[in-house]
């Protein structure tokens, strides 16, 4: 008797659950935000890992998460463009980054002006990208092969330029602007210029001390916090405008969902800026990363060339017959990739205060992994910059977690874990898409 009752209640529970799932599109939600959820879950697990509680979220660790992964964000942005065109990848970026840095270091050692050297590095990157893009777009050499050749050749050129040795960069301006050292932060102009505010944010003010924390209040970076607040204002304005437009046009999208995600992202930005302000302030590399991510989010979502990237990846023949010059699209993707490889070279050299012919090995794979974990399709045509950011962050968090001894203190295990995560991410993607049919 009780057995049948419990069975019936089980069934009704199951029914209500399915109803709930269908009503609120739980399945679709999970499918869309799989990697975001995975990221949050992993951060929570790491945060409460026994013996390492709270370590991963220390301001210094968040700071170094950004510093260590700057090159991944920059390269993955370019890689995403290449992948969008049809799953094409660029294997040469690690070598190109090393090569441009080698040239720059040599030029600066010879006394060249820093900014001129930086410009030359970026232009060399762009030229290499355009050159490889030429073979891929016009001559139709498979991208894999063309860039594999580039990977060998530019690794070799780096060796030649550096004569197999490490080149040091001593120029302080370069290190301040592109490095990750103690001085590579946006200076706290506000605290210096506004003594009134500086007084409020000091240990004399009891309320603020309690709010921000005793140890950090006296050097709490006001400029960094302000940048975070401005970023939030810009973000919320854009988002609200978008929602208003959708309303006006009558696009049926869940407004609640968008507002929730807006609030969460706002909270995240504020939280990160708070953490950074409590440490050394706003890192210069974050400025570069943010700039690149913002530009290419715009390019992929708003511009015609961005649209063409998706269209070529989705169906190249149809795109060509729609009057799009498809070879220019490939060329664009690989030129941008080269340019960003140049920037990655600059950031690598800035972080390491010099360049060694072995730097940049495996960078291409980190960038590719970030894109695929972030939901880009291996066949091209789908993938977003925002997804890639999640993917890169996820891989970065795992790196960080392992380096402070979470999961395993064995550094040799790092690549095993990264490999498994990539596998799991892609597997989940494939399986969830299959279910939909």
């Amino acid at each position: 008797m009780s057995n049948t009752v419990s069975k019936a209640s089980q069934r009704s529970l199951k029914n209500t659950l399915t109803e709930f799932m269908e009503k609120y599109k739980v399945g679709a939600f999970f499918q869309k935000y799989t990697m975001t959820i995975a990221l949050v879950v992993i951060v929570i697990i790491f945060n409460f890992w026994q013996g390492k509680e709270g370590l991963i979220l220390l301001p210094s660790n968040i700071n170094s998460l950004i510093a260590d992964n700057a090159y991944v964000f920059v390269l993955a942005t370019g890689m995403l463009l290449c992948i969008l065109t049809g799953g094409n990848i660029d294997l040469s970026v690690g070598s190109v980054a090393c090569f441009t840095a080698a040239i720059g270091a040599t030029l600066m050692a010879g006394g060249m002006n820093v900014w001129l050297a930086v410009l030359i590095m970026l232009l060399i990157g762009l030229a290499i990208g355009a050159f490889q893009g030429f073979w891929i777009a016009k001559v139709k050499v498979p991208a894999f092969i063309a860039t594999l050749a580039g990977m060998y050749a530019f690794r070799g050129f780096s060796n030649v330029v550096l004569k197999g040795e490490t080149a040091r960069i001593k120029d302080q301006v370069f290190l301040d602007v592109f490095g990750t050292g103690k001085t590579s932060y946006i200076p706290d102009v506000i605290r210096d210029k506004c003594p009134g505010l500086a007084n409020t944010f000091s240990s004399q003010n009891e309320f603020m001390t309690r709010l921000i924390g005793e140890g950090t209040i006296d050097k709490f970076n006001l400029t960094c916090m302000l940048i975070g607040i401005i970023a939030v204002i810009v973000f919320v304005t854009l988002k609200v405008r978008k929602i208003m437009q959708q309303k006006k046009l009558g696009i049926s999208q869940s407004v609640t969902g968008q507002i929730i995600s807006m609030v969460l992202i706002t909270a995240l930005i504020l939280w990160v800026s708070f953490k950074l302000s409590s440490y050394r302030g706003f890192p210069m590399v974050l400025l570069w990363i943010g700039l690149i991510l913002a530009i290419f989010t715009y390019v992929t979502e708003k511009t015609a060339i961005g649209r063409h990237l998706y269209a070529v990846g989705g169906n190249e023949k149809a795109t060509a017959l729609s009057g799009v010059k498809t070879h220019n699209v490939y060329w664009f993707a690989y030129s941008v990739m080269g340019f960003l490889a140049g920037l990655a070279g600059i950031l690598t050299a800035g972080k390491a205060k010099g360049i060694d012919p072995t730097y940049g090995v495996g960078y291409e794979m980190d960038a590719i992994a970030a894109c695929f974990v972030g939901g880009a399709s291996a066949y091209g045509g789908t993938g977003k910059v925002s997804g890639m950011i999640i993917g890169a962050t996820l891989m970065g968090v795992i790196n960080k977690g392992m380096s402070i001894g979470i999961i395993s203190s064995d550094k040799n295990m790092l690549k095993v874990v990264k490999g498994l995560v990539l596998m799991a991410a892609v597997m989940f993607d494939v399986l969830s898409k299959r279910q939909k049919r």
Binding site: A320, L321, G323, G381, T382
Partner: protein, 517 residues
């Protein structure tokens, strides 16, 4: 009383959100040809997938009774073991392999660890003879035409000891001649006792070959019509069942459209094959089209119609072009890109909408705007509002059935995909539209709507070039007809003078002439 070979009883199949089949009942007698017809999305393919085990036992409700036994297939192999073999619409042959290798792929002859090639080719040749192919089974598939490839598919099915053969749109990629040969082959098999199910959109084929016709609509069986009487079932009778109403006129009338001056003219247009450069794919073609006129180009598969259209469209196909192109009487030097043609206000709606026409992984909106992005952007930055408005406008205008314009085109039905493709080119605002097989593989209702769109375009003063291999369509829709064969235009006819018979006659005459040369 003939024996019932297959009975599908009360089959219900649900997908998340939709009931694809609702209590479908379907009976096939031994030794008959049974046609399964219905509009796209009526559930024909789903029903066949249930039968063949692609949708495994347990995922559907109801019973499949075959040869007196309830079947519980969980994979295709299970149904093939029983002699139920499906030949899919898309040819699934590997071009680089020989006919024999293809026929026994997955069913290799000989020892577990060593294929017996002698036996493979001996057996393969035996079955090839049965389907009337003279080729040796050692010929590579890429070296034979599509018609023969379809026959290889059938031979492959026979090699699996088929008792019940299911042909899904077997003639969709064949020309009239090959289609007729294939249908005759089916009738021949029937004499030898084979049971067959044919799925097709071509109703004349159904009337010609089928003993019984089952009509599906919206996932339910509507009726089973007997076609063994003295008089063949009329197409109108079948259509009535398919769409649930009588289509008195398959082609909407175009009235009061004034035909203007010559808009585009080509003279001595010759194009060579891109790989085999000495071969002419378009040979000395001259033709013209006037404002507000619908010009049909009819020809068999491989006659050079698509090649002609694509070569006009910015030299998108072929090499070694020669000939002149005039727009409004002025000679035009056509550039090398589709974009050049679009600038000259020429549009080409491709024949293969999935392969060459649409980006299936993108939304209706993105596809609609793709050919004319500059119209909705400001200095190459896309105006999202304008784009959305344009997509909505065309969705309303062309009655595209989609929950929203943000829906991925890949999720739409064939007819709606075709409308999106049309929307894309109408939005490019061309003066000349070349439509290549605009109604292939879409259902009767959607066809009618597309014909209406063609009429509206003509009424707006556009030139429409309608390329089709369906004769009734060309006859029903065009003002003037060009007939193409072997890369040449062999005849120009006014529609009033044209009949199915004299068009086919013209083609046959040109073939004979060609043979005599």
């Amino acid at each position: 009383m003939p024996k019932i070979l297959l009975e599908m009883k009360n089959i219900t199949k649900e997908f998340p959100g939709v009931k694809a089949l609702k209590n479908v009942n379907f009976q096939v007698e031994e030794g008959e040809i049974h046609a399964l017809v219905g509009e796209n999305g009526a559930g024909k393919s789903t029903l066949m997938k249930v039968l063949s085990g692609i949708h495994p036992y347990g995922s559907y409700e109801g019973d499949v009774i075959y040869d007196g036994q309830v079947c519980k297939f969980t994979q295709i192999k299970d149904s093939e073991k029983k002699g139920i073999v499906i030949i899919h619409q898309e040819l699934a042959l590997i071009p680089e392999m020989t006919i024999g290798e293809n026929m026994y792929l997955g069913n290799e002859q000989g020892h577990k660890f060593a294929i017996n090639w002698n036996k493979t080719y001996f057996e393969a040749d035996k079955y090839l003879k049965m389907v009337g192919l003279e080729e040796s089974s050692k010929v590579q598939v890429k070296n034979i035409g599509t018609g023969k490839q379809q026959l290889v598919e059938i031979a492959k099915a026979l090699a699996k000891n088929a008792r019940l053969l299911i042909l899904d749109e077997p003639t969709s990629s064949l020309n009239e001649e090959d289609s007729r040969a294939l249908l005759d082959l089916m009738l021949n098999f029937k004499k030898q006792g084979m049971t067959m199910i044919i799925i097709t959109h071509k109703l004349n084929e159904v009337a010609y070959v089928a003993d019984k016709i089952t009509v599906l609509r919206d996932g339910a069986t509507i009726e089973t019509i007997d076609n063994r009487g003295a008089e063949r079932v009329s197409e109108a009778r079948i259509i009535k069942g398919m769409v649930g109403r009588e289509l008195t006129n398959r082609f909407p009338k175009r009235e009061g459209v004034k035909i203007g001056d010559v808009e585009m003219e080509i003279k001595n247009w010759t194009v060579h094959h891109p790989q085999y450069v000495e071969r002419k794919v378009v040979d000395d073609v001259s033709m013209y089209v006037r404002k507000g006129e619908v010009v049909g180009i009819y020809g068999l598969m491989g006659a050079g119609r698509t090649e002609l259209a694509m070569s006009i469209f910015g030299h998108s196909y072929g090499t070694n072009f020669s000939g002149e192109l005039y727009l409004n009487g002025k000679p035009i030097k056509m550039g090398k890109n589709a974009s050049d043609a679009i600038k000259q206000k020429i549009a080409y709606v491709t024949e293969d909408r999935k392969g060459n026409g649409l980006v299936l992984s993108q939304s209706v909106k993105v596809n609609t705007s793709l050919a004319n992005l500059q119209a909705i952007s400001n200095k190459s930055v896309i105006d999202a509002d304008k784009e959305y408005a344009v997509a909505e406008e065309y969705r309303d205008k062309l009655l595209i059935k989609t929950p929203s314009v943000e829906q991925l085109v890949g999720n739409l039905s064939g007819g709606n995909q075709q409308k999106v493709l049309l929307a894309k080119w109408m939005f490019a605002e061309p003066d000349i539209l070349m439509l290549d097989e605009p109604t292939r593989g879409i259902d009767v209702g959607a066809k009618y709507e597309i014909y209406c769109i063609i009429n509206e375009l003509a009424a707006a003063g556009k030139c429409v070039i309608l390329i089709s291999s369906e004769l009734p369509e060309v006859l029903g829709m065009s003002d003037r007809i060009y007939i193409m064969n072997e890369a040449k235009i062999i005849k120009e006819m006014k529609t009033e003078d044209a009949t199915q018979e004299n068009i086919m006659e013209a083609i046959l005459a040109s073939e004979r002439k060609h043979d005599n040369e």
